[in-house]
Assembly symmetry: C2
Homo-oligomer: 506 residues x 2
């Protein structure tokens, strides 16, 4: 099967006019109102102009400055009331083949969940028509939730992994795609066979494919993906470490998600100081490594991760659903570890980074909670511990930082995406909230969302659940979006200047 | 202002045909496939027929049995593929006037949250146009999420409370509406003035209004609402207890949500054994009492609550958002306390009971989690405690039970609603999931949700986020709905046989 052709180049320069919201620092959002952002045909932000009250002013000022022909050469997009531009979300950890299992996990925890739900589903995607159906839906859904870049785990299958890369490229979603390496502790029908050399060879096949379809790695690029220490032989990990070093490749894997998993690693590597040291020993703990979960790291491990410059993908939906634990994000950030968010579909139930951000905030509150009284009263935490827990809480600004700038750092894209700055690329979403009509009783003057006279209220299919009454501050609007928003609020999505997703009423 | 007229009586008998899913017991869902449910003009289920493979069979069998004229007198609704009927959700705890603050809580906890966000918003709804705008939207939104019955807190304002009751009646949503009583520890501009007699008189005004607009209390009925112990004088609580006893009225209040609140009650009632005993002393702990939260109850309190037959509204979204704590639901259920779910808008950020059910499941997992390693390792839980925590996990079936049958018990409606049984009333929702097309690449044969040929994927506004590939079991479909469903999946909503909400493409 020939891969689909890459998306066509942009035909026009673009001007975006209205309100722009992005993360300025970990705990601060910046609001640029009445602003205009100019994006050239390469998808790059070439100018940002403030105080452009209207489209005419914006076009006039910026086009003359840039030497653009406003009439022929420029497409203009202006925010409507209740809308704003926000950087695209970055999903630092998602398993594309597990998508059909989203929400299906019963009362399992990591190790039984892998065997019961995950390995059978992944194995089944060796059938390419099935892989195409599933992967197409994953890319479509994540784009619809505003995910402009994702670090995907595929399966062990070469052809299906290449197909996922093709589909991301065709849809225009930035993707790091990794063939999963796993040559032990896996079922007979879903295990890398033939020894470490064969594992490497299959991995190189997928890397070569991605380098062929996207030579610059601008949209799609490979990432080495040893599943996790328990599933890879030492020899395979060692060879992957060598390749990573020789070719300066990105790496993604899992660490310290679940207490049973940690015990397993300790059994496998009795002489290793800890889990992080296992990866380090094989050259897999680098500044280009994305470690998913990091829920139960010890002090020593955090120090090592920080020293190596490795990154963390925090996956709160998954950690809650699989009863894994509560990742102490604040503690990692305080040690200068870069943290982004991951949906971890389908350990995580939702393909939405907005949901992950919401849960990141809630999970941080669980860390900060007073102990429950039954049984725990006798074990009141020490003052030091209490303080650490209370400081754990992550606010709206912080989780949205993790969802954008944080994720960009984790994937090594922070020079390109995550915020609106001249020189960066236009990976963005247009967000629209629902402005509640002023006639609370809706007396027949509005067809949508109204009582139709027979007493039946008919919903507006486009509006979503974020109700803005008009008196809210901008910080409050953003908080409302974080806590009640969904894909209906993501009206349009661009990657590198190209419109890749939109809703019918945008 | 004259209240709107009550909804018209049903003109036809109704037959519902297809798959019916409801809770059979705490941990079991029952699936009735190829079934038909007959609902008469009073909104009551009069017959359930199994093995009706099609509409014709259903109509024939049931109509002849019931003596209905199938041609003239019966409306038939048949499930489409991916659709099923489910009981309406029951919200046992929601503050209608706080709805505009949904999602807005910063890093506050209960007591500062009340002063900073809540009291000012509630006070502002003394302006009736504003109250009408807000309350209309609350009723519309909760109905759109499948909430067929709700226990509402209004404000201290009589006219606005009566307006909320009017709006519920007009929309056809079952509602217990309570004027909030609070005559101490509240701001000057938002406090019940004039002493206990005046508090009682204002409360009776709203009770009388509801008894006038809905004499049977079939759709709208009053509920006594002392805000919580810290905000009511002992004399007021005592009088409310008397009225509750004399008129056999329902009661709703808050208990043991937050450690600061508990300390405050202890200061106010140094001679009372505990928080629950304060309510009990005033006759407010009855089998018709709904206690919201119950996060930090002691053994003694749980025993007292169980003895009195009082009920608990579990509000997981709120308890997580306000960092209140993790309610040990399993422990309450094991002591034979009835538990339902509450959105607790706007301590809870979402007006959806499906979201509350999802969070109930996740919060139960936080209770069951291993302690986080940093700082906690030295304080490993005892075996007894470990077991209690591990048993805490609530599964899909259990949280959906709480959302329907559990809520019905909490509100004293379990003889009427919460499941599909002959003699019960038709409070139901038609749920539809998205059947993923078989052509994963969507090659142009489908206008919606497709790649439009220019590389832009256009979303289908109707489909929601629950993707069914076709190979899932019914249990798996329900799990997918629980974890990724939203109001888009609730296609139609009925209360007492009457269609009260629908989506344009249902």
């Amino acid at each position: 099967m020939t891969p689909p052709p890459p998306p066509p180049a942009l035909q026009k320069n673009q001007l975006f006019v209205g309100t722009f919201v992005h993360s300025k620092s970990l705990n601060q959002l910046e609001y640029l109102h009445d602003a205009s952002v100019a994006v050239d045909k390469s998808g790059r932000i070439v100018a940002i102009e403030l105080q452009c009250r209207d489209q005419a002013t914006a076009a006039e000022t910026l086009c003359s400055k840039l030497g653009w022909d406003a009439a022929a050469d420029v497409e203009v997009r202006v925010c409507k009331e209740g809308q704003f531009f926000f950087p695209g979300f970055i999903d630092t950890h998602i398993h594309a083949p597990q998508y059909p299992n989203a929400g299906i996990f019963g009362n399992s925890t990591l190790l039984d969940w892998l065997n019961k739900y995950t390995f059978p589903m992944e194995a089944s995607l060796a059938a390419l028509p099935r892989a195409r159906r599933v992967y197409s839906q994953v890319v479509r859904r994540t784009l619809s939730h505003g995910t402009t870049a994702a670090a995907y785990y595929a399966t062990i299958d070469v052809a299906a992994t290449n197909l996922l890369a093709d589909l991301c490229l065709a849809a225009g979603q930035r993707a790091f795609v990794g063939r999963v390496c796993m040559d032990r502790n896996a079922p007979d029908n879903y295990i890398d066979k033939g020894g470490p050399a064969a594992v490497l060879a299959r991995t190189m096949e997928t890397i070569d494919h991605m380098r062929t379809i996207d030579p610059e790695g601008d949209i799609v690029a490979p990432i080495l993906t040893p599943r996790f220490a328990p599933a890879c032989t030492p020899e395979t990990m060692s060879r992957l470490g060598d390749v990573a070093r020789d070719q300066d490749l990105r790496i993604q894997t899992h660490i310290s998600e679940n207490v049973g998993e940690i015990a397993l690693v300790r059994e496998q590597y009795p002489d290793s100081r800890d889990y992080a040291s296992v990866y380090d020993m094989f050259g897999l703990l680098t500044k280009r490594t994305v470690l998913a979960h990091a829920v139960h790291l010890t002090d020593d491990e955090v120090a090592l991760v920080a020293k190596r410059g490795a990154k963390v993908a925090h996956c709160p939906c998954s950690n809650s659903a699989l009863t894994s634990g509560e990742c102490p994000v604040r503690w990692l950030l305080d040690r200068d570890i870069d943290v982004g968010l991951g949906t971890d579909v389908s350990g995580g139930y939702a393909p939405s980074i907005l949901e992950a951000a919401r849960l990141a905030s809630l999970v941080s509150r669980h860390l900060a909670m007073p102990y429950n009284s039954q049984g725990d009263a006798a074990r009141a935490p020490s003052d030091v511990d209490k303080k650490r827990r209370e400081e754990a809480t992550l606010g709206v600004e912080e989780v949205l930082h993790l969802a954008t700038r944080g994720g960009a750092k984790v994937l090594g894209l922070d020079h390109k995406v995550g915020g609106f700055e001249v020189g960066m690329e236009w990976d963005a979403q247009l967000v629209g909230l629902n402005m509640v009509a002023d006639n609370g009783d809706d007396e027949g003057d509005d067809e949508s969302n109204s009582n139709n006279g027979c007493g039946v209220i008919v919903a507006d299919p486009h509006e979503g659940n974020v109700d803005v009454f008009g008196w809210e501050t901008w910080d409050e609007r953003i908080a409302k979006w974080l806590f009640n928003g969904d894909d209906r609020n993501t009206k349009m999505v661009w990657v590198k200047g190209r419109l890749v997703h939109q809703r019918p009423s945008s």
